[in-house]
Symmetry: C2
Subunit: 314 residues, 2 copies
């Protein structure tokens, strides 16, 4: 149960729960409760809310309904004293510290970490816990590497700031990374940036590709890699050579061979990093890109016009 940036953390959590625990998971549609007043029979299930502020009234209404229907309920939020936390039986406190910008960034990474900690505890030892312990160092190094490349005046910033339309692609655990990168570009840069799974891209949006439309592909080392390579090749055939975020281990697979090496950002991810943990790192270049694009276009990335930190929706 989530909206906006937290919705992308919830999508990540759904992949994590299905893949690591084998339990079917899906995203709630709040209007089913808040607009249609349907009593959904969540009893026997687990309902998890994810929110930065914990103050969106529609999410609170859904969690109250889920608790009422007998579900086990957990709120993952940055404020354990928030109404959304009060509406759930259990709370996981993100402890990310105050999110001073309207556009959420560090709290997104903290939501992913909270999800991993929860699933690792349920699954028993799968290497996720040890990997999670290494993440502060990994993220420090990733941020330093990304900040050296994605900076004012860098070609990638010029490319995205100079186009009203762009596309962000990935698959699997990094599909939410693509969605979140696109949302940050939209919110702070005010450009049409759309995130797609590499599979859905082939089902339609591939026709939007043309030389003036920059594309960013998050290319995981793990199992979705070849699927993302295919999307990179499709984009290249349509005339737009994608920018690629990958790891230092990224082999020159089909998707990268023939590409422009200057368009590939290699993050210093450890060889043995479990794939589910990499989205905490792969979002960082996207967040930096959105910040730089926003400034380049003359906006304040911390306070996009027309947005509020707590969004009130029916």
């Amino acid at each position: 149960v989530a909206r906006g940036t937290s919705d992308h953390a919830a999508i990540y959590l759904r992949y994590l729960i299905e893949i690591e625990l084998g339990i079917p998971a899906g995203l709630a549609a709040p209007s089913v409760t808040t607009i249609y007043g349907a009593e959904v029979r969540w009893g026997g299930g687990l309902v998890i809310a994810v929110s930065q502020s914990g103050r969106s009234p529609d999410l609170v209404a859904v969690m109250e309904a889920a608790t009422r229907s007998g579900a086990t309920t957990i709120t993952i939020a940055n404020d354990p004293a928030s109404p959304l936390a009060a509406a759930a039986r259990h709370v996981i406190d993100c402890r990310a510290g105050e999110e001073r910008a309207v556009a959420a960034t560090k709290s997104y990474v903290a939501q992913l970490a909270a999800g991993v900690a929860f699933v690792a505890a349920v699954a028993g030892d799968t290497g996720l816990s040890a990997g999670l312990d290494s993440m502060p160092d990994v993220l420090d190094r990733t941020l330093a590497t990304a900040a050296a490349t994605v900076t004012d005046g860098a070609p990638i910033v010029d490319a995205f700031a100079g186009s009203e339309r762009s596309i962000v692609l990935s698959r699997g655990f990094d599909f939410p990374t693509a969605l979140e990168t696109a949302l940050k570009l939209k919110e702070t840069g005010r450009l049409f940036a759309e995130g797609y799974s590499s599979a859905d891209f082939s089902h339609g949006p591939v026709v939007l590709t043309e030389p003036g439309v920059p594309i960013l592909a998050i290319r995981p080392d793990g199992r979705p890699g070849p699927a993302v390579d295919e999307a990179i090749e499709a984009a290249r055939r349509a005339g737009s050579e994608p920018w690629v975020v990958g790891s230092a281990n990224l082999a020159g697979g089909a998707g990268l061979a023939g590409g422009d090496p200057a368009k590939i950002l290699r993050l210093p991810l450890p060889d043995d990093l479990p794939e589910p943990l990499s989205p905490m790192a792969t979002i960082l270049p996207g967040q930096l890109l959105a910040e730089a694009v926003s400034r380049r276009r003359g906006y304040d990335p911390d306070a996009p016009p027309g947005l509020r930190k707590v969004t009130l929706t029916r």
Copy 2:
């Protein structure tokens, strides 16, 4: 379990199942099965695949896994002899006739109808069955009304054909209508058209609104109406007066007062039409708009370059 246009029919079906039956429902992520090889425990549940061709190998793999795990499985497809139908225990044949264009249109409406027929049978008499019987007439009249307005040279066609960026909004049962209208505009018109729920719009994409970006709002008579009105007002404040698709009964509520009457398309929907049935009608103006925009931009709407009828994804 679905992709592309059928994904939007699946989202519609999820609303229908949760609201009419109170059973939690969600969309599958095929990569969980096809890329990560996870064995999700769907046993005891119902897994429904929706597809025009019934031939996407990734959807077949998910349905085989679901059947194997003990789930009750149903395929809703336009070809009861397709591999996706063979992978399920039960088949609902859409009988829409051959979809001659690559961009699916009549088969989408037939998928919604198949979903209503199924849920009405499970729910017992809720008025849905009687309403469904009236739909052929309602759709004939809706198509005639929409075709008289959304036609070559009409202002709405000029507006969308003349911009590289546009937004389609709705909420609840018509949220998939917004997504599907946007996808058709993308596929056949090759423009960045993005579909949003009116709630998610307020969480970010509202900042994309500006005078040169046309907006289409599907404004249901039913309970989500006021929420869509709020999005219409937000768009108007940002400088883009939305085009509105509503019914002949559409009252001049907050969202419409002050708008341009020439931008409101009133469909001849019966007063007593159950709200869940209206998406079969409200998609028609969007399909006609995409066709006209595609021609106006010099493309063949029946054969968008770069797309195939059966999409092969990992």
